[in-house]
C-alpha cells in the first residue's frame, strides 16, 4: 500500500512521459491485485477464533448428551442407566483433525495474503499433525481425501516459504492448489453441516446435534407429560425452551461454518478463473471477488453470534 500512495501523490500537473505512465499504470494495477488477495486473507483470518469452537464441540455434544439421562425413582438400581455417548475420545480426535485441517487451509490463505501484501514479511508455517490413533481406527474415505489435500496444501505453504515466491507467482500458485483447496473446504463444510438437511450424505456435527435434540425432547417431555399442570412444569418448560434455543444456535453456527468454507472455496476458484497466463485479470478479479468476501464476512458474523 505504501508504494501505491507514493505514485498516487505525484502532482497532477507534472508532465509524465509515456514510459512513466505505463509504469504507474502497471504498479497501480498491481496494487489492485494485491489488495484483493490480501483482503480475502484478512477475512479468512478473522474466522480463526470461531472455527476451533465448533470442532471442539464434537466432544462437547457427546458430553451434553450424557446429561440428559433420568435416574429412576427410588433406591439406585444395580446397574446405572447407560451413557448416551461413549464415543467422546473418537469424536475429540475427529474434532482435532478438523482443527488441523482447517488451520492448514487458513494458513494457506494467510500465506497468500502475506505474499500479496506490499510489506510481505515472512510467514510462519505451523502445521500440526493429524491424529495417528484416529487414523489407525479408520478414517472414512472422505476424511482420508481431506487429509491428503491438507498435506498437499501444507507442502505448498512450505514451498512458498522456501522458494521465496514473489507476487507475480501468486497466480501460478493459486492455479496449482485450487483442487486441494476445493476438496478441503468442501470436506470441512460437509463434516460440520452437510448440504441436504433432510437426507445428509455424510456423518457430521449436525448428526450429533440431531441425537442431542432427540435426547432433550425425551428428557423434558416425558416428566412433563406425567405432571403437566404443576408450577414446576412451567419452570421446566422454560428450561426446555432454553436448551432448544442453545441447540438451534449451534445448528445455525454449523450452517454459518458451511457457508464460510464454501465461500473460501468459491473465492479461490474465482481467483483461479481470473488468473490467465499466470497473471490476474485484475479488473475482473476486483469485480468477482467482492461478493465472495462479503459472503464470508456475513458467515463469520453469524458464526460469532451463534457459536458458544
Amino acid at each position: 500500500m505504501q508504494r501505491c500512495r507514493f505514485f498516487v501523490r505525484v502532482p497532477l500537473g507534472r508532465q509524465l512521459g509515456a514510459n512513466t505512465i505505463l509504469l504507474l499504470t502497471l504498479l497501480l494495477a498491481g496494487c489492485v491485485e494485491l489488495d484483493q488477495v490480501t483482503a480475502l486473507a484478512k477475512v479468512a483470518d478473522g474466522a480463526k477464533t470461531s472455527l476451533p469452537v465448533i470442532a471442539a464441540d464434537f466432544k462437547g455434544s457427546c458430553d451434553r448428551q450424557n446429561l440428559y439421562v433420568h435416574l429412576p425413582p427410588g433406591p439406585p438400581p444395580v446397574l446405572p442407566p447407560p451413557k448416551a455417548c461413549v464415543s467422546g475420545d473418537d469424536l475429540e480426535k475427529l474434532g482435532s483433525n478438523l482443527v488441523v485441517e482447517q488451520n492448514v487451509l487458513l494458513d494457506y490463505f494467510d500465506a497468500l495474503g502475506k505474499l500479496a501484501s506490499s510489506t510481505s514479511a515472512g510467514f510462519q508455517k505451523s502445521v500440526g499433525g493429524l491424529s495417528g490413533s484416529f487414523k489407525d481406527a479408520g478414517l472414512s474415505a472422505a476424511q482420508q481425501t481431506m487429509a491428503t489435500s491438507a498435506g498437499s496444501l501444507a507442502s505448498a505453504i512450505s514451498d512458498l516459504a522456501l522458494q521465496g515466491y514473489r507476487k507475480k507467482k501468486i497466480a501460478v500458485i493459486i492455479g496449482k492448489t485450487d483442487k486441494d483447496v476445493t476438496i478441503l473446504a468442501n470436506g470441512l463444510a460437509d463434516q460440520v453441516a452437510p448440504a441436504a438437511a433432510k437426507a445428509p450424505s455424510t456423518t457430521s456435527y449436525i448428526s450429533l446435534l440431531d441425537n442431542e435434540s432427540g435426547l432433550i425432547d425425551s428428557y423434558y417431555s416425558i416428566p412433563l407429560a406425567q405432571d403437566p399442570n404443576s408450577l414446576a412444569a412451567i419452570i421446566v418448560n422454560r428450561q426446555w425452551q432454553e436448551d432448544v434455543n442453545q441447540l438451534n444456535a449451534r445448528k445455525d453456527a454449523a450452517q454459518a461454518y458451511r457457508k464460510l468454507m464454501l465461500s473460501l472455496a468459491t473465492a479461490h476458484a474465482t481467483m483461479t478463473r481470473d488468473a490467465k497466463g499466470g497473471h490476474f485479470d485484475i479488473k475482473q478479479l476486483g469485480k468477482d471477488l467482492g461478493p465472495d468476501v462479503a459472503q464470508m464476512e456475513t458467515a463469520i458474523a453469524d458464526l460469532q453470534k451463534d457459536v458458544r
Partner: protein
C-alpha cells in the same frame, strides 16, 4: 480384528447413524405416547434401550469401518430395512412387552455392528427381524394415543 473389517463410505456410516437415531427417536415417542400406561420399571428399561441406540448412532458418526461382509451393501440395506420396519412396529404397537422386545433386539443389533464381529452382525439382524415378525404375527398392533406433551 483389523483383518476382518472393511471401510465404510461416509454415506454408509451416515445411514447407520441415522437408522439408530431413528429407532431411538421411535422409542422416545413410544415412551411419551404410553406415559400413562408404562410402569416406572418399563420407562426405565425403555430409556436404557433408547440411550443404547443413541450410543450406537453416536459411535457410527465417527466410524470408518464395518465388520467384513461378503456383500457389505446388501448387509447395510438389510439393516436399513429392518430398522425402518422396527420404527413402524414401535409406532403402532400396543403391547409393551412386544415393544420392549423390538427395542431390545434393535439395541443388540447395534452392539453386534459395533463389535466388528462378522458373524455377530448376521445374528443381530436375524434377532430384530424375528422380534418384528413376532409383534405383527400376534396381531397386537394398533394406533396409540397422541403425545401428551409437545416440543417447545
Amino acid at each position: 480384528m483389523p483383518d476382518q473389517t472393511q471401510p465404510l463410505t461416509a454415506g454408509q456410516a451416515q445411514d447407520l447413524a441415522q437408522s439408530f437415531h431413528d429407532i431411538a427417536a421411535a422409542i422416545g415417542q413410544y415412551r411419551l405416547a404410553q406415559v400413562a400406561v408404562l410402569t416406572p420399571t418399563q420407562q426405565y428399561q425403555l430409556q436404557n434401550l433408547q440411550l443404547q441406540c443413541i450410543q450406537y448412532s453416536n459411535a457410527f458418526i465417527s466410524a470408518g469401518l464395518f465388520a467384513a461382509q461378503a456383500n457389505l451393501a446388501a448387509t447395510l440395506a438389510s439393516i436399513k430395512q429392518a430398522t425402518m420396519q422396527a420404527n413402524q412396529a414401535i409406532a403402532t404397537i400396543n403391547n409393551v412387552d412386544k415393544a420392549l422386545q423390538i427395542a431390545a433386539a434393535a439395541a443388540v443389533l447395534g452392539a453386534s455392528i459395533a463389535s466388528m464381529n462378522p458373524s455377530a452382525v448376521g445374528s443381530g439382524l436375524e434377532g430384530l427381524v424375528k422380534a418384528i415378525a413376532g409383534s405383527t404375527a400376534s396381531g397386537n398392533t394398533s394406533s396409540t394415543g397422541t403425545p401428551t406433551a409437545s416440543a417447545p
